[in-house]
């Protein structure tokens, strides 16, 4: 019997993974685990082997671990050819080649794109280059910022109170550093969790001595004669003297290298089907190009088949595993990526976790515990069903809520087995800001229904 195309791919095909971070690594491991014996090339723009990013805003800034020591443990040997420190610069879909910035070209039979996101830089380039101005995304960013915090700055200014900004502020306070947080919305975390939870987060900031300024924008960063940042000017006229500034304005998707390639890639990510296969700009799905991790946007059956972009650690792992499985499967053997979004954050001594898509929620109901005690669970409702949940120091309940979301349980919920206090038990508006005015950027982006949609605008979470 002649060898099938799939069998020959498995035994001597060429698989190229662009993006050597969490998703790329876990995909590569899965490919080998599923019996891929051909050549595997890992292309990464950073000169390091895959490392873990969450510790950069936590352990590393607290001085408990070095940014250099965050390399990810391997599940198995992947026997890959590594092309690190060289970004991909183009894709030839017809010729099945990835072009590299150094001029090289790498041919593939199957391609996985996991190029992720990068920190959105400070919009004024000259100000962003002042000494003392940081973003926090890469190992190098983490090492530089940790060194600066170690030196004991007089005041740190964090611009943007999303998860990263809040974690940085928390680490600064834990180290006894003065910190100001400037947020354009009315409270921290509102983009991801809404105003009700944001109000709790604002109290946490203030209780821990953060100088939290909300409803303001930073209009200008000012340097001294030596090119070091010395102050920030706010839209309300205030001036904050600071010697370290951390810009936490969310992320940008690394898709520029695909411009003109014919792939459905743009500022909102790369559209793929539920099986991780990338769409071309024609809206036709490709057979040989797959996407995983932060750069992907894919339709989710639990959330109305809307295309979701998820900047979540767990999504990267799960989507990478699914993509790798599907890369080596025929059409009947492929499976959908139906991971339920979940994330965590640790700040001001509180463990914040979430499942589902809170940003779709129009209402929230505190179902357990008490926000005043910083220990509670809340569920988000959308069109009469539970769509998301959040816990503050109540993680053990999260599985329960995940099952409710998966079962599309009704909202408001009627649990007889959980405690209720006067402040809970009643749905109230979840109070998300107008999504057309992104602040620090939510970690789940709803981006409508069109696979080839390349517009920059945000799809409102409510309609």
């Amino acid at each position: 019997m002649p060898e099938s195309e799939l069998e020959s791919l498995k035994s001597r095909g060429r698989i190229v993974v662009v993006g050597a971070s969490l998703a790329g690594l876990r995909a590569a491991e899965t490919l080998r685990e599923k019996g891929f014996k051909g050549t595997l090339t890992m292309i990464g723009d950073e000169p390091y082997e895959p490392y873990d990013r969450p510790p950069l805003s936590k352990q590393v800034l607290l001085g408990m671990a070095r940014a250099e020591d965050t390399a990810l443990p391997r599940r198995r040997d992947i026997e890959a050819e590594w092309r690190l420190g060289v970004p991909a610069s183009g894709l030839d879909m017809a010729g099945r080649r990835v072009k590299l910035a150094d001029g090289d070209e790498v041919p593939y039979d199957r391609l996985l794109i996991a190029t992720g996101v990068r920190a959105r830089p400070w919009p004024n380039e000259a100000e962003g280059e002042l000494d003392g101005v940081f973003v926090l995304r890469t190992r190098a960013d983490g090492a530089g910022l940790a060194r600066r915090l170690e030196a004991g700055p007089r005041r740190v200014l964090v611009i943007g109170a999303g998860f990263t900004g809040s974690e940085i502020a928390s680490a600064c306070r834990e180290r006894g550093l003065e910190v100001t947080v400037a947020e354009r919305a009315d409270a921290p975390l509102v983009g991801a969790l809404g105003g009700v939870v944001g109000a709790v987060a604002a109290e946490m900031h203030r209780e821990h001595g953060v100088d939290l300024r909300t409803g303001v924008m930073v209009t200008r960063l000012e340097g001294d004669a030596g090119g070091r940042v010395r102050a920030a000017h706010l839209s309300d006229g205030a001036v904050v003297e600071c010697d370290v500034v951390v810009v936490c304005l969310g992320a940008q998707r690394n898709t520029e290298w695909l411009a003109g390639s014919g792939l459905g890639a743009g500022p909102r990510g790369i559209a793929c089907d539920a099986g991780c296969r990338a769409f071309g700009i024609t809206g036709i799905v490709t057979d040989d190009i797959y996407v995983a991790g932060d750069v992907a946007r894919s339709p989710h059956p639990l959330f109305g088949y809307q295309f979701l972009s998820l900047e979540h650690w767990g999504n990267a792992v799960s989507q990478a595993e699914t993509a790798a499985h599907n890369m080596l499967s025929d059409s009947a053997g492929r499976r959908p990526h139906i991971w339920v979004p979940a994330f965590w954050s640790s700040q001001f001594g509180v463990n914040i976790k979430s499942v589902g898509v809170p940003t779709m929620g129009t209402e929230i109901m505190i179902t357990q515990g008490s926000p005043a005690e910083r220990r509670f669970a809340g569920v988000y409702g959308y069109q009469g069903r539970i769509i998301g949940a959040v816990t503050f120091d109540n993680a053990r309940w999260l599985d329960f809520y995940q099952r409710q979301i998966e079962a599309t349980a009704p909202f408001p919920p009627e649990f007889s087995n959980v405690d209720r206090r006067p402040e809970g038990g009643r749905p109230v508006p979840a109070d998300f800001p107008d999504p057309s005015v992104p602040t620090h950027g939510p970690t789940v982006t709803l981006s409508g229904y069109s696979p080839a949609d390349r517009r920059m605008t945000f799809t409102p979470a409510r309609n």
Binding site: L62, M64, D69, A71, G349
Partner: protein, 69 residues
């Protein structure tokens, strides 16, 4: 040297790891967990015990000497 990562989506703050390998895992607040992503080889036994004891199997460890090829 050991590399480790904890799947903090899975972790429920049971603290078995912090009890068994306190130099590598520490509770931070009531249920948050901080860990050293690169631990000394001398911690090998303890980290292995912690990984085995974690009720949700959230800890992944790699003995990096073995695979530093």
């Amino acid at each position: 040297m050991l590399r480790l990562v904890v799947d903090l989506n899975r972790c429920q703050g049971y603290a078995q790891c912090a009890f068994l390998a306190p130099d590598v895992f520490a509770m931070h607040g009531d249920e948050g967990l901080l860990y050293d992503p690169q631990a000394e080889a001398a911690q090998r036994e303890r980290v292995a015990q912690a990984a085995a004891a974690c009720p949700v199997q959230a800890i992944l460890v790699e003995d990096a000497e073995a695979s530093d090829a």
